[in-house]
Symmetry: D4
Subunit: 178 residues, 8 copies
Amino acid sequence: MKSVVGIMVGSDSDLPLIQETTQVLEELDIPFEISIASAHRTPDRVAEYASTASDRGIQVIIAAAGAAAHLPGVIASRTLLPVIGVPVDSGPLGGVDALYSIVQMPSGVPVAAMAVGRAGARNAGIFAAQILALTEPRIAKRLADYRRQMAESVESKADRLAQTGLTRYIEEKSKSSN
Amino acid sequence: MKSVVGIMVGSDSDLPLIQETTQVLEELDIPFEISIASAHRTPDRVAEYASTASDRGIQVIIAAAGAAAHLPGVIASRTLLPVIGVPVDSGPLGGVDALYSIVQMPSGVPVAAMAVGRAGARNAGIFAAQILALTEPRIAKRLADYRRQMAESVESKADRLAQTGLTRYIEEKSKSSN
Amino acid sequence: MKSVVGIMVGSDSDLPLIQETTQVLEELDIPFEISIASAHRTPDRVAEYASTASDRGIQVIIAAAGAAAHLPGVIASRTLLPVIGVPVDSGPLGGVDALYSIVQMPSGVPVAAMAVGRAGARNAGIFAAQILALTEPRIAKRLADYRRQMAESVESKADRLAQTGLTRYIEEKSKSSN
Amino acid sequence: MKSVVGIMVGSDSDLPLIQETTQVLEELDIPFEISIASAHRTPDRVAEYASTASDRGIQVIIAAAGAAAHLPGVIASRTLLPVIGVPVDSGPLGGVDALYSIVQMPSGVPVAAMAVGRAGARNAGIFAAQILALTEPRIAKRLADYRRQMAESVESKADRLAQTGLTRYIEEKSKSSN
Amino acid sequence: MKSVVGIMVGSDSDLPLIQETTQVLEELDIPFEISIASAHRTPDRVAEYASTASDRGIQVIIAAAGAAAHLPGVIASRTLLPVIGVPVDSGPLGGVDALYSIVQMPSGVPVAAMAVGRAGARNAGIFAAQILALTEPRIAKRLADYRRQMAESVESKADRLAQTGLTRYIEEKSKSSN
Amino acid sequence: MKSVVGIMVGSDSDLPLIQETTQVLEELDIPFEISIASAHRTPDRVAEYASTASDRGIQVIIAAAGAAAHLPGVIASRTLLPVIGVPVDSGPLGGVDALYSIVQMPSGVPVAAMAVGRAGARNAGIFAAQILALTEPRIAKRLADYRRQMAESVESKADRLAQTGLTRYIEEKSKSSN
Amino acid sequence: MKSVVGIMVGSDSDLPLIQETTQVLEELDIPFEISIASAHRTPDRVAEYASTASDRGIQVIIAAAGAAAHLPGVIASRTLLPVIGVPVDSGPLGGVDALYSIVQMPSGVPVAAMAVGRAGARNAGIFAAQILALTEPRIAKRLADYRRQMAESVESKADRLAQTGLTRYIEEKSKSSN
Amino acid sequence: MKSVVGIMVGSDSDLPLIQETTQVLEELDIPFEISIASAHRTPDRVAEYASTASDRGIQVIIAAAGAAAHLPGVIASRTLLPVIGVPVDSGPLGGVDALYSIVQMPSGVPVAAMAVGRAGARNAGIFAAQILALTEPRIAKRLADYRRQMAESVESKADRLAQTGLTRYIEEKSKSSN
């Protein structure tokens, strides 16, 4: 199936984080492509990628980068597709540098910033799906299911907590995560 | 014409800022609705607004708020439409509080954060247009024109700077802005 | 006994932290209920919880959340009971995001913010007790005892330090915590 | 009528800010006392004030201070009454110093931190009222009215915006504030 | 004379700041060119500029930008010339966003960051001169003179302070700056 | 009378701030000298000053500087006299840069950091006096008087507030400061 | 020998850090006393300690605390002795909270802030010695020796690096620290 | 071969970090010298080093330091050679203190700041090479090769990712790094 979401990371060290994104896209059955390109080490590769994405059928681009995270903005400067940026929490400043470099885009060329780190990587996939769902009822339905399941999961945890009590709940959770 | 973008501000003191958003939507000829609702003072109004927006034909929601800016996230919790958040730089912390409250959404319920203040307000309108352009060729065309004009404006400024020299350029700019 | 304090966490990963709260409530013999609800994943559950709490006899609500920590504020928007917020130090920004999202509530709908992390979780329980003590002399008495014991504990440590000397004190403390 | 809320500011330069607090207490018809004492320049005065407040009938203490804002914590160390802290946004660090000095209280002696500046000052009064409302039905009723009026004010603004349109709304608002 | 320093600003609103740079280059008699190009609005113009600079005889590039200040890094990705970045203190975050976006460049493609704002703009010119002075003895001599004059200016101020006394010194300085 | 406190500022733009220091030293009748030297523009002058201060009879050095405020640390590296550092809140980062550059001295060479800006400048003079008071009973006496007057001033303000009420107090204060 | 330096920590968890202080005082042969008292849990103990310190012969007080670190300021409010504050880097905010709570003291009651953590703890001891050295030539001599040894240690490391080369130096250093 | 780059670290604990710098200089075949000197513990050694560097043939100086990182600025005050500063991410504030102390140099005496930590250490070597390459065609050629190899490395990783797929890529990478 033809990819509709394009994922780009600035370094292969960002790949484990971006698995949060690919997993949610797979759960929602949205075809995607993924690659590596650095805004600073391979600027031509990024420019080429961004300017051809729309013609390849990509509808939303997700870009993740850390530190002076220029990748999402540099891609956004070369396409009119919506670009979602994921700030990676690598390095000594803990991701605030990546957040500022992604979210503070100047007037005219927006990037949609997600949360720093894992939550942001997962949400990038969901936000891409929310855009696609505007015209794909199947995705809209899967998103609605996904959100219902999230709510049910919270409720079932609340039920279990009510039954077992706090101490045992924490013990069991701690066991099952070992 | 039926509104496709819904704009919500948390307080009427945010309206001057949000004019950046409405102006760009008008320039791109995208019909929008705008209203006021506070996540904390009128939670029912916000819930009602968010949960009926899709049925009213709204495709993208833009929400602006300052301080502990919960409005975009609270709307996002009640709809599957893409929600764009604009952090307002009011109050003593200069908008970092609003940025964190908007961008750091937990896994599962994304908000697309824009830059703090005016640039973010303008970009919210452009990003909404980029989403709509995926299925509206006319909007795509207007966006392409808009971006071309931005580029031409930069180039014409560069040309004028080359002709007049730095000192006179600054003088003339300073005059014309008085 | 009927619960007078309602504790709500945004995720079951916050439960170990909130044990600081439940322990101090148990020490002070204050009956409480505890549950899980996410402001973003289960907004109806939160709204239902908050708007019925007073009728169930709850007098103070404690809510803990991390990142864009909207839970305390969203609860506060649905009840006139005092709401105490505990910022959880999860995620890359170390809890400053949660602190700002909780403490910077807009004019009209306050949340009482405690310190980030464990100290704040414990203090949430104590602050709830201080509110209840205004009308419950037994709680007031237990709080006075609790504070006296804290003071005596500091003094007995100071006495031991005076007797053993610094080096041995640190050695013994390090042993006993292994 | 006997004061039930005690307000203390660290310096008379904090008095204009604290008017936000006194106004809301007056609106809610809650009797209060107000004075000036510095944790550092008049420690005995603060200790005396805090340790006698309860006997004088005070039920909630509100303390506002800027910079290394020790006043709320120092008061809290001398009383078991609930202490609400208002960080004042004076000085070069913009109130973050006051916020940290107030909210980061160690385990055992809580202070309920409000937002930095005006919103926090107003909310301190409302939060005090929420505590008192637990046992004073008249205050509970006034608080419910107050919140209803806040909601109605938002709704009436939204109505006016719907009628006049954005441009004229902003013009009229700008005029009326001159 | 052929320009050896290339100055690029991201927006014509940065031109008054960059006068600090051009003034010091003129004082040191170093020929420069200056233009406007936005990393996001005119990416091709920036790429063209950066990749041809060396062939045009440029030896050092100075780039100034604010917010998510990608300009210096994007230029650095297209040239092996030394690139000096000046963070502009525009916008609500006061230039920390620009500083992080410029200084936190990833391994492999450095940008030399200067101080935020005016001091950084002036120092960019001086640092460019220090690089050029390595092979241009005349520039080295002018730099040595410039630094000597700076030192003499400090000393003459110290002398005047010693003669006039503090109060009168401040009065006279305040007058002369009106 | 021979100066016992040496004051050094990094730039004559810091002189108005340092008047807070000189005023308190004059009030306490402590003889001081004051001069200008820049750690970066006149390093020899600073080294000379610091290494001869003790022989000239100086007992405490106060140094004020902004931005990358190296002056206090550079002086401390050349003398064993106590050095007090005052972070100046000039420039876009609001003095946090100066604070970090002064307070974060490495192990072995301390600088005593005061608060950023005016409060810190005044306190530098008082702290110098507290050091000198250890061996000068007259200074100890004046300090005790000074502190008593501070306390009395707070108390007399509190008395006036009690008499006039809040509204009139603020009006009169606002008038007297015009 | 009679103690001339008084050391106070806010919690016995701060004792390992304060060993940096006691070690340097022992190296410089300066008699000290050390105890534990919490500004919030044992305010009377702190007040008693601070107000009697001078009469017991204490000449300098060193106080270490974390989070909302009021201890140094509360001591300073009760004595005219110089008070040195050490911000402890415990808790989620990494010590910035403690730094602000210590350094940002209001006009009139100074605390001399040291660096956050170990460097600050060591420097507190050295700074106390620098104060005492003003009147104790033996301490002045030991401080001069201490500083000379620090310099010689740096130089001998530089010599070894010159001889062994970088790789071997790092290997040997890494071995010797295991 | 005669050293053209001089590297100075403030403490031998910075040596492992600076290996990033020396490795890249070795890869580019640029002769360098390296030593240890502390701006605060050995100010004369630093002054001597900085003021003789140019005469020894050094053309660029790289200085790394943490906390109140004065070393690069103190060196810059004693030489007209370009000085590159590397902020070391040691200590509780995570390197932001070092960054501010290095980058915020006052007007007149620039330091070229690199990123905090490892990326900055590597980039310091590359930036030094970029300066030297202006007059050394061999270095220019090696830099061009180095950058081409960086780009090829990114491309070959992208190719491998395309072939193996994300899951296996991450597995293999995780294995090879064990």
